[in-house]
């Protein structure tokens, strides 16, 4: 089974800090990590290969340093990876991103299933997976917890929506997004780390995938940021002093005043 797993390198949420005066991101101290949601997609991909054979190829779009994320994915069980990196990709919104991923997947050629994390922690849109399915003209199934391939070649998945869990069958090719917590992502193995270190990570540019200029970057992105503001919290700000017992007394008073 040829499996493609899309991942994204994101800033670790708890290292993101913001300068409220300047309204800018404080770059120093930011640690990059694989989007936590994607680890579940990667684990699902590796499990599929373990059950049915084949190959897991990780695909990521980002700056040159996103190569680290691909190496980490290899250390966690992927067979190889490709980095999509080009200055012309910068500023792409989800519509342009799904186009770039689609062009790369077409270049990779044959595949059975594309797995994505449900969403990212930085963009938080959950749009690229379904958008990619639309680009590829294939069936999309989101919020998936388990995947198996039947003897007749069809796929059977468990999808969890608000009201319960559906067991569904569909023909490949499929784009599937994996639910957070669907499995227990393995940690990098020593052997995996060795493989990751030695792996060659090809870089695909705009030319390599034959992307059209008006479809990528800012030109290919219909949405733009009009303005930004730092959310403010109004009202009292009071620190409760005293011994713990006095502080708890004050809390109970606050509860009463709030009518609780």
């Amino acid at each position: 089974m040829e499996i493609i797993c899309c991942i994204k390198q994101v800033p670790a949420t708890d290292t993101v800090r913001f300068d409220p005066e300047k309204g800018t991101l404080i770059r120093e101290g930011i640690v990059a990590e694989i989007n936590p949601y994607d680890l579940f997609a990667l684990e699902a991909a590796v499990q599929l290969r373990e059950s049915y054979g084949g190959r897991v190829t990780v695909l990521s779009m980002g700056p040159p340093q996103a190569e680290e994320a691909i190496r980490e994915a290899i250390s966690r069980g992927a067979d190889g990876g490709i980095l999509l990196s080009d200055r012309a990709f910068a500023g792409s919104d989800t519509l342009a991103t799904s186009y770039i991923l689609k062009k790369a997947i077409e270049k990779i050629g044959s595949w059975d299933v594309v797995l994505c994390g449900k969403q990212t922690t930085d963009g938080d849109t959950a749009q690229v997976g379904p958008g990619l399915a639309a680009r590829l003209g294939c069936t999309c199934i989101t919020c998936v917890e388990a995947i198996e391939r039947m003897e007749d070649g069809r796929f059977r998945v468990r999808r969890r929506l608000e009201e319960g869990t559906y067991t569904l069958e569909a023909d490949s090719p499929l784009v599937i997004t994996i639910e957070m917590g669907a499995n227990s992502p393995r940690v990098p193995s020593l052997k995996g780390k060795m493989r990751a270190k030695k792996a060659e990570i090809p870089i695909f540019t705009k030319e390599d995938i034959g992307a059209e200029d008006e479809m990528i970057g800012l030109a290919g992105s219909p949405t733009s940021v009009d303005s930004t503001y730092v959310p403010e919290f109004k009202g009292t700000h009071e620190m409760i002093q005293g011994t713990p017992a006095e502080q708890v007394d004050a809390l109970l008073k606050i509860f009463r005043e709030a009518g609780v």
């Binding site: 959950a126 749009q127 069936t139 608000e162 219909p222 609780v260």
Partner: protein, 338 residues
């Protein structure tokens, strides 16, 4: 005059999903500013029986697509239908709730239509000059609010989390036109076959976080089983629910649905009570609607204190123990109450 605002209607139980009611209510003011018609789309297998409800929330028109092929739900099919209808009728704006279904079919429709989609908006408005839809959403994990626009392409598309807007029924309403659409054969293709469905069992019934009057939250600083149990006692004694920040649910100490924040439950209680919560933006974005925020944390620099109305710098464990005792005294019914 443009071709209108569309709200994609979803059904929950025996009526319109609350988020559809909220979006229709909010869209009434957008309609006034734009001078365009407000339509509610109902697309599904057995949706005709709900066709009058959107009018109660201000819809001018209902577009009804009822077809047996629409079960089970397939985002691929649904997205194609929305895109096809939009191509035909040319709406200016398409809105939907940020439900699991809509989060899947909206990007598919968006991509087919080659237009913009803004996820999880916290506010919507019309720019008085350009008449463009101003779509405000959290950015950088909620550290910043960004207003997104889709200037050139149409329709402008956005999803909105439940609980962001208020649902308001009209005091007087009358049923308007219901336009029934027949699906072309190619749009009746559902790629999914349903083999089984297991409804959510009672023991995993999700508490009503959104409507809770008191939300007690366990943060990383109290991520221990024993403390979580005590916080459950406190939440119960206050008639509230217990939620958590992501590290705590990731550790499995509380179920995933208990995660409060931008990517989890958005809450707006009278009282928010956070223990060992640092106040990272992805969490705080989900608690902005709280009336009174109380935080206990040992780190005086914790960002939660910037937004807390009342803060205690100290050992959360100690405060929890004292609070459990005092709440027991307060209810005066001893252990059996908890």
């Amino acid at each position: 005059m443009g071709s209108g605002i569309w709200v994609i209607g979803e059904i929950e139980g025996y009526g319109l999903h609350p988020v559809t009611q909220e979006l229709l209510s909010k869209s009434r003011s957008l309609r006034e500013e734009l001078g365009e018609e407000l339509s509610c789309l109902l697309v599904g297998h057995d949706v005709a029986r709900f066709k009058e409800e959107p009018f109660r929330y201000g819809a001018d028109r209902v577009i009804l697509v009822e077809d047996s092929s629409l079960e089970p739900f397939s985002e691929t099919q649904f997205g194609k239908i929305i895109a096809e209808l939009a191509r035909e009728k040319g709406p200016t704006i398409i809105l939907s709730g940020a439900t699991e279904r809509a989060k899947a079919f909206m990007p598919i429709a968006q991509t087919i239509l080659e237009t913009g989609l803004t996820a999880n908006c916290m506010d919507l408005a019309i720019d008085p000059q350009t008449k463009v839809l101003l779509q405000t959403r959290p950015a950088y994990g909620g550290n910043l609010m960004a207003t997104i626009v889709c200037r050139e392409r149409r329709p402008q598309m956005a999803t909105v989390r439940a609980g962001v807007f208020k649902a308001e029924q009209l005091s007087e309403w009358k049923v308007g036109p219901v336009e029934e659409v027949e699906l072309k054969d190619e749009l009746r293709q559902n790629p999914l076959t349903q083999v089984a469905f297991e409804p959510k069992s009672d023991d995993e019934a999700i508490p009503d976080y959104k409507g809770a009057d008191v939300v007690v939250v366990a943060g990383r600083g109290v991520a221990e089983k024993g403390l979580i149990e005590k916080l459950k006692v406190i939440a119960q004694a206050l008639g509230g629910v217990l939620g958590a920040t992501r590290p705590v649910t990731d550790m499995g100490l509380l179920p995933r649905h208990a995660q409060i924040g931008q990517t989890g439950q958005v809450v707006s209680p009278t009282l928010y009570l956070g223990f060992g919560v640092s106040g990272a933006a992805p969490h705080t974005i989900g608690i902005q609607g709280s009336k009174v925020i109380v935080a206990v944390n040992k780190d005086p620099e914790a960002p939660i204190f910037k937004l807390a109305n009342y803060g205690i710098v100290g050992d959360a464990k100690e405060i929890i123990d004292l609070l459990v005792d005092r709440l027991r005294d307060r209810t005066g019914r001893g252990e059996q109450n908890v």
